[in-house]
């Protein structure tokens, strides 16, 4: 096992650790801003899982027979190294999905922070225990 073959599992481990740290922050931190920071960490971890899953060794575009004998392109006559390129290329579907997910998550965080500001203006505190105590009264 070299560092080269361990690269994709280490990326998966990093994503899992980001999700775990984010869940810890959401559950156990008392400050509202740190809870929102935990949600951003969970979002980054999930996006990283999707991107890492499409990293390499996925030859989905061409069939195995075409992969063995090479692809003769009509537009590019000199393109003989196409199978090596296809073996190294990333799967394009997760990057297209994650691109949308990042943009949506930033707008969701903007809404969450605006609600946190309104809670601070109403209860005059950012601590969750103080807010829950005042809600109960």
């Amino acid at each position: 096992m070299s560092l080269e073959t361990l690269f994709q599992p280490m990326c998966f481990l990093t994503a899992a650790a980001l999700v775990v740290v984010g869940l810890y922050a959401v559950i156990f931190m008392d400050n509202l801003l740190k809870k929102i920071i935990g949600v951003t960490l969970i979002s980054d971890g999930v996006n990283l899982v999707l991107i890492t899953g499409g990293f390499n060794k996925i030859v989905a575009i061409i069939s195995p027979e075409m992969y063995e004998q090479g692809v003769k392109s009509t537009a590019f006559e000199t393109l003989t190294e196409f199978p090596e390129f296809a073996a190294q290329a990333a799967f394009p579907l997760p990057s297209a999905l994650v691109l949308t997910s990042i943009v949506i998550s930033v707008s969701i965080f903007a809404i969450m922070l605006a609600l946190a500001i309104r809670l601070y203006q109403h209860y005059n505190s950012m601590s969750c225990s103080v807010i829950f105590k005042e809600v109960d009264e």
Binding site: L18, A25, I102, V106, L113
Partner: protein
């Protein structure tokens, strides 16, 4: 022979993990927001090493610049230190 981008990828995995952990143990919330920006930038470079450069560019703009900006506005509107 390990390629150079994989060494960069390992460095940015380390940066993302420890940036996120350090962001959660700060008492000063502005330092925490800056460390969240560092974590977003590390994840953006990690996307670049994972051969998804479009996602890397979008994450570098939104996750490393815009998101710490709105977090900083929230810290400015509320209190800075954690009670």
């Amino acid at each position: 022979m390990i390629p150079g981008f994989m060494i960069m990828g390992y460095i940015f995995m380390f940066t993302a993990l420890f940036g996120s952990i350090l962001a959660l143990i700060q008492r000063d919330l502005m330092k925490s927001v800056i460390l969240i920006g560092l974590e977003g930038l590390a994840v953006a470079f990690l996307y670049q090493t994972l051969r998804a450069p479009d996602v890397g560019i979008t994450q570098a703009i939104l996750g490393a610049a815009l998101l710490p900006g709105i977090f900083a506005i929230t810290v400015y509107k509320t209190r800075r230190e954690e009670e």
